[in-house]
Point group: D2
Chain length 135, copies 4
Amino acid sequence: MPVLEMIRTYPADITLDRDLMADTVSALIECAQACTACADACLSEPDLAMLGKCVRTNLDCADICDTTAKVLSRHTGYDAGLSVAQLRSCIVACDTCADECAEHAGHHAHCQLCADSCRTCSAACERLMDAMITT
Amino acid sequence: MPVLEMIRTYPADITLDRDLMADTVSALIECAQACTACADACLSEPDLAMLGKCVRTNLDCADICDTTAKVLSRHTGYDAGLSVAQLRSCIVACDTCADECAEHAGHHAHCQLCADSCRTCSAACERLMDAMITT
Amino acid sequence: MPVLEMIRTYPADITLDRDLMADTVSALIECAQACTACADACLSEPDLAMLGKCVRTNLDCADICDTTAKVLSRHTGYDAGLSVAQLRSCIVACDTCADECAEHAGHHAHCQLCADSCRTCSAACERLMDAMITT
Amino acid sequence: MPVLEMIRTYPADITLDRDLMADTVSALIECAQACTACADACLSEPDLAMLGKCVRTNLDCADICDTTAKVLSRHTGYDAGLSVAQLRSCIVACDTCADECAEHAGHHAHCQLCADSCRTCSAACERLMDAMITT
């Protein structure tokens, strides 16, 4: 797993478990890509007129997951307050996108896959946030 | 002001004041650029060895401001919960970066300008967040 | 102009004119925001079914302008080959988005403004690229 | 592989091989994360003063790979000219970052891993670009 290999080479201390960090970052970058792809797949659906809100929710979730992955890929000058605040926002973005995509999952396989990816990502962020708060 | 011109063309209702939204988005994209430039200026300083944390803080603030600007530039399917959560994270990022840059502002003009930009952006985000919570 | 103020504080040499660099970066971040806003405005149009390609073109242009602005905001270890290659891609993205938005400009004011912003940005990138090639 | 699963659900034609597209997007998002992590690891190295250019090169490569992954994750209104131009820039960014990181690979394991990731990504982009040009 490339994220885990990279984090193992970080040359200073990390107060959190490196496997947990790597799992979360991996979930975030997979979710961001799924949301980008789902937004684009919506744009090619015959019922695009019904999917405006879904595209918007996908775009927000993609941007927020990408940024959260970057923040969590940095360990120099770690600031728990900032990481937790960004994780909170990311959990809201993932849950919102999962709910919206779930409404279209019966018609569109990309919405089903994207909703699954958002749920996985939200759960990973929750686990990491819990570890940060109790550390 | 280009951001304000664009928001005036949005074809549906926006529950918040369009000038307030545009001011905040403008502050966010200016702050993101200032942080990107400050990080790079630090990389060319003779005392780079002292600036590792400052670069990291700049990079986080740039990414978070960019993403917050994108979320706030979207009005379709507006979700106050998500916007407020992202604004909260952005305020933490701006305040953290302003504090860190302020420590180097005596030696580096880019840190002084960047700290100013972060304070302006944090204040703009606070105003918009207050308006969102009370709307 | 905040971009120009920041670039003036860069502590080492820049082989290119700082005003020209600042103008281009400003055009890029304005264009990126216009494209993000235009994509979202399209999502709220009654004729969204006709605007799938326009949204896609807007999203590409926003991402590419954002990244080009970041690359051009960095001067440490300047590499003309990379800057020129990214500018070339950005000019294609801006021209493509301007052409697509122009097709909808009669019906949608946001497409008109966005097309204008893309043309301005493309011209700014051409000027800077010419300066880089001849420097 | 999540990227491949998502691309299989795209509801319209894609003129290029879906496995090839998915492999390239996966290489891009892995490379972007490696570059973000390598930049941050550099910031915590005792010899940071020697690594200013390496951090800059990492940041450019991360931004360009992220944007290229997004462009290639979109298939609606596919434009070969834009995709090829962005791939060309990405290949320059990856090759430049690989060369720079290779200079520090003897001292820093993160630079070795990052250089490997950049080489893999550059080769994947070359293969896809060839397929686009001959299609």
